[in-house]
Amino acid sequence: MNRFLQPIAIIFWKDILLELRSKDIIISAAVFGFLVVIVFNFALNVTPRLVTQLAPGILWVAFAFAGTLAMNRSFVREKEQGGLEGLLLTPVSRDAIFLGKALVSFLFMLIVEAALLPVFAVMLGFSAFSFMLILTIVLATLGFATVGTLFSAIAVQTRSREIMLPVLFFPIILPVIIGAVEASSQAIGGDGGAGIGKWLPLIGVFDALFLVICPWVFSFVVEE
């Protein structure tokens, strides 16, 4: 295999193996995301008339909260066992470590979202099987995982690590949340993706920009 891709694949597989054995990230994030929806249902009193207005917002708040939880766990795990030091000692470029971790977070979040989406669709009463909705989720989750991996690597080193990730993450990720909510609202509302046109490119530009910047600055975050 390619010399650049191989370390990424190994890091990716390591985290999947860990998750297969412990199962603590995906299940806890999914349960948490489910709880967010339940709480919102009571807080906002979602009636069928309001569902197209409220469902996208609830969906993305649940995904964003569950995502921060999952990404935080992913680095806390490395920190507790000194795994990050081990990774840094291996003759692997920092970019590969970043991309491997980001790819794992991307996959875990997608699994959590794939589990939650049908449940939400049933409970809130909208159709989940729209190509545009799924495309929006994949693109937005890519942005979440890229920025989230960088900030969880920082947050895990600080005191009060649980609070630092959301404090850093949410202001930066705001354009993706706005874009994802608007695009999902178009997809669920069913006016055929007429208004979706500018939101997906916005999320795409965000993803591309931060896929370039984050690996570069990540090398400074982990050095010591």
């Binding site: 404090v167 949410f170 202001p171 354009p175 910047i213």
Partner: protein, 239 residues
């Protein structure tokens, strides 16, 4: 034993010159704003807050641009002076953006009828405030100063790159959710030449204030670093 330079304070230092110049400009500025500037025909006296609000907002943007440049230079060159500059500019910038938000809220209530509206510029400024508050938090919560400087530099770069995207997304979002609150934007209208002149003067006064605060904060950071070094060497000698 470690020797540390005594703090020299010559009478004609750069920062002393700035404080004298800044105080003089600020006094004249306040006089111009309250005594010379004409009262706005539509908005009344509240319009005068604009001579404080706009310069402070622009100075905070300038501050965050300085943070961005200094952060890149710090990551590349690892010279402490760039970290000091970024730290000082970020703190001063947060103070200015906070004041710009507060003066904006004071202005919005009588003119727009609401304290706050999710207009693109307001929203972007609020997000800017959040990003740089997080910047200062990460410095404070980092395990040590070196790591704090690195993390802060990363946030300074990522945060600044993010600002234009936040602005565009909020603008598009607003165009989808039109709000009932439509107010006359004072800065978009044609300004009287007198008002324009006073605004420019106000910019100059706040620019000098900004420079003074950054220079003083950098000097203070330098002293803090020296104190830390002294404490460290005292520990080492076991006293």
């Amino acid at each position: 034993m470690a020797t540390v330079d005594r703090v020299k304070q010559p009478l004609l230092s750069f920062s002393n010159a700035l404080v004298v110049l800044g105080a003089a400009l600020m006094l004249v500025d306040v006089y111009l704003i309250f005594m010379v500037a004409p009262t706005d025909a539509v908005l009344g006296n509240i319009q005068r807050v604009f001579y404080f609000h706009v310069p402070m907002a622009i100075m905070s943007f300038l501050a965050f641009f300085v943070v961005f440049i200094a952060s890149i230079l710090y990551l590349i060159k690892r010279d402490q002076k760039w970290d000091r500059l970024a730290h000082a500019a970020a703190e001063v910038g947060v103070v200015f953006v906070t004041l710009a938000l507060i003066t904006g809220i004071i202005w919005a209530r009588p003119v727009w009828g609401v304290w706050w509206t999710w207009e693109p510029r307001l929203t972007t400024t609020l997000i800017l405030w959040l990003i740089y508050v997080a910047y200062l938090m990460i410095r404070a919560y980092a395990p040590n100063r070196t790591q704090g400087a690195l993390y802060a530099a990363v946030v300074g770069i990522v945060g600044f790159v993010d600002v234009p995207i936040v602005y565009y997304s909020v603008q598009w979002w607003r165009s989808i959710h039109p709000s009932a609150v439509v107010g006359p934007l004072a800065e978009s209208g044609a300004l009287e030449p007198v008002m324009q002149g006073i605004l420019l003067f106000s910019f100059l006064a706040f620019l000098v204030l900004f420079l003074y605060l950054v220079v003083e904060r950098m000097a203070l950071r330098g002293l803090e670093d020296q104190v830390r070094l002294l404490k460290f060497s005292l520990h080492r000698t076991g006293r």
